[in-house]
Symmetry: C2
Subunit: 139 residues, 2 copies
């Protein structure tokens, strides 16, 4: 175990699945798995609408694009049934993590704040084994 | 919340990421995120080699194909950097869940046993919003 990792990771805060039809997806998770599913949350600044599915140890974010030109809409064009989109890990301090990641030549993209007000960024998938990884500050 | 779901889900047991180079992937998760990473586990009957990455609340399975004709090898051909492959949810009784899923016209594929000896199956991604979902019996 590395004692000084660039982005010390804690929890899997959530994993995100892009879906073409949020209502159908929410019903699928509620009816098939018996999961609690949140009401839809509109995120117009991100051109999407989401729900959270509660699992015992983490949550799933289901995301539906609301704008045909967004990156998420293009993902759905390539994956019309939907598909796994990204994972989100927590870290104690997002600013320090972003600085240390940059120092290690990892591309930090989309630095901002979540709709819960938590600082976040993404690692470029080309620098993270093909996986889009969101890094969000711990609660 | 559905009181009688076909596949009552508990935890996210793990999420799985396909990678072209298991050693490099294990180092990335250890060095960048400071995660504990298991020794490699060879699964010749599944034509793959895996490691587990420990997060505070769940784990990530990194999978490298060991046979060029396997489904996983073809996934890597389509995603040469690697990518998110499947998620695994736990349920109290896999046999009952498989029966109830089939009764609801969900295609149950790959029924078997994990290398830990836990019963499992997969839901066909076409029946699960484009996501390959593994269902594994709770410990």
């Amino acid at each position: 175990m590395n004692k000084n990792p660039a982005i010390p990771a804690g929890d899997l805060d959530h994993l995100s699945i892009a879906v073409p039809d949020l209502k159908a997806a929410a019903e699928f998770y509620r009816d098939t798995f018996g999961c609690e599913v949140s009401d839809p949350i509109d995120l117009p600044e991100r051109n999407m609408r989401i729900v959270y599915v509660t699992l015992a140890n983490t949550k799933i974010e289901l995301m539906e694009p609301t704008d045909s030109s967004s990156t998420l809409a293009k993902f759905i064009e390539r994956n019309p049934d939907g598909g796994l989109h990204h994972i989100c890990l927590t870290t104690p301090d997002v600013d320090i993590a972003a600085e240390q990641a940059t120092a290690e030549k990892l591309r930090v993209i989309g630095k901002g704040t979540s709709h819960h007000g938590r600082a976040l960024f993404f690692l470029h998938p080309k620098d993270a084994l093909g996986t889009l990884i969101e890094i969000e500050e711990e609660n």
